[in-house]
């Protein structure tokens, strides 16, 4: 049982607002890179992934306001119908906020399954928005990005916690 929840019991430095903002901006930039071809199809929605991370790990700092405004930015950047990403990210933030205690009690493997479900829900909402606006069904490979995103979750957890680990005190050994 000691293994369970070990990750979330790490003693970390407090998270600064600047760190959160910079991760969100980097995620947005990665989303806006000129992706094409196969890469475009397997590319996960990095903004969704990072917003979800912060909703789970810092639910008091990141919530609906951030998710909603990033959704609007994504809508403009992709030229999609206004409100479609905003709606999807709001639901994503809700899932993150409601589940944040539960998810943190799981090992990484369990967390990945939670994240996968939430990302699929996110994609489904975007898809539904598009199809209601008259778009065609793009095929099931549309959901590949969510699986890739969930697979990236451990990497993101590791990366985002790295700068927050306190320096090891050499006197203690």
């Amino acid at each position: 049982m000691a293994m369970r929840g070990r990750l979330s019991n790490d003693l970390l430095l407090p998270v600064g607002g600047a760190f959160i903002v910079s991760t969100l901006i980097v995620a947005l930039m990665i989303n806006l890179l000129p992706w094409s071809g196969v890469w475009l199809q397997v590319k996960p929605d990095f903004v969704a992934l990072v917003v979800l991370y912060w909703c789970i790990h810092q639910p008091r700092k990141v919530g609906f306001t951030v998710a909603f405004s990033l959704g609007l930015i994504m809508d403009v950047a992709e030229g999609s119908v206004f409100g479609q990403h905003a709606l999807a990210y709001s639901v994503l933030a809700y899932a993150g906020l409601v589940l944040h205690r539960r998810v943190q009690n799981f090992t990484l493997k369990g967390q990945v399954l939670h994240v996968l479900a939430i990302l699929l829900l996110n994609d489904t909402i975007v898809l539904a928005g598009r199809m209601l606006a008259g778009g065609p069904f793009p095929g099931f490979y549309y959901f590949v990005g969510s699986f890739v995103g969930a697979a990236l979750w451990p990497v993101i957890v590791y990366l985002f916690k790295m700068p927050l680990r306190p320096a090891i005190d050499p006197d203690r050994g």
């Binding site: 806006l32 000129p34 992706w35 094409s36 992709e78 030229g79 409100g83 905003a86 065609p136």
Partner: protein
């Protein structure tokens, strides 16, 4: 004494309430945008705000290109130089011929008092990024309203038509490719002059001729060029080549698949044709009512 929880516990409305508020707001925006397009101002404002991010995101590729150029070997350069010299010699001959033909053509056109075919200028634009949206085929380029781009202008690469400007922002513009499902281009068969409308299928490498009767004369390998009808696209620019004609009597129309001539998905630079067709407006439809018949009956 009244008991109040400490401020730490005051966290505003519950997540569910917030979710409902956000969803309501986004659904209202969705409907407003789809139905009425009132939100274009907000869209423009946000696009200005994220413009630096877009440029920054496009920077790595430019950097990669530069680094790649730096490491070209001398042998490769010499080789390329020789090839280019040969090519320029050949092109010079072609160019002479072209000049002669163009002069003759202009003369002939003056004779028949035809209008100049392509009077406008060309705006050179670079592709910033292709939308992640798999539903529609769109790209975004680095020229916008400030550089004189207007919505509706046709876009081509060095070979043929690739799309049309559909949305403009102050410094960037969105182009819908001809392979988009909702995009249609009036074309003409180069072999026999047959007019048709070509549309995207949503597939990046395929176009389809729409509403062509089963017995229409289209063959594999036919070249399709813009017809210039409707004044959106200048006439005579290559669009597609017929690759597959399927005539099934069970359907009303022939199923004619084509492949785009221009590199619709592989380019980094595009040309936006800034032109004005100067086509006079369509004459009003003749109103056929009972009133027009009356005098005839009376007389």
């Amino acid at each position: 004494m009244e008991y109040n929880p400490p401020p730490f516990f005051k966290r505003g409305p519950t997540p569910l309430i917030r979710l409902l508020l956000c969803s309501l707001l986004s659904i209202v925006m969705l409907i407003t945008d789809v139905r009425y397009r009132y939100l274009d101002n907000i869209r423009q404002a946000v696009s200005v705000a994220i413009y630096p991010l877009l440029r920054l995101a496009a920077a790595p590729r430019a950097l990669l290109d530069n680094v790649g150029e730096f490491f070209v070997t001398q042998a490769a350069l010499r080789n390329e130089n020789a090839k280019l010299t040969a090519l320029s010699l050949r092109d010079a001959a072609i160019l002479r011929k072209y000049e002669a033909v163009a002069a003759e053509n202009a003369h002939l056109r003056e004779l028949v008092a035809a209008r100049e075919r392509f009077p406008g200028s060309v705006i050179f634009a670079e592709v910033l990024y292709a939308g992640r949206d798999i539903f529609s085929r769109k790209i975004v380029v680095d020229k916008g309203e400030q550089q004189g781009v207007k919505a509706g202008l046709p876009v081509m690469d060095n070979v043929g038509i690739i799309g049309q400007v559909t949305r403009i922002y102050p410094w960037i513009a969105e182009i819908t490719l001809i392979t988009d499902k909702d995009q249609a281009v009036p074309v003409q068969n180069l072999r026999n002059g047959l007019r048709a409308v070509i549309g995207g299928t949503g597939n990046a490498a395929q176009l389809e001729l729409k509403y062509i009767p089963l017995n229409a004369d289209f063959q594999n390998g036919d070249q399709l060029v813009t017809s210039g009808i409707d004044g959106v696209y200048p006439p005579g620019l290559p669009v597609a080549e017929v690759t597959d004609v399927e005539r099934n009597a069970a359907f009303m129309f022939a199923h004619i698949r084509c492949k785009p001539v221009a590199g619709v998905t592989n380019y980094a630079q595009v040309l936006i044709l800034d032109w004005d067709s100067k086509i006079p407006p369509r004459p009003p439809e003749e109103v056929r009512t009972a009133r027009t018949k009356k005098p005839r009956r009376g007389g």
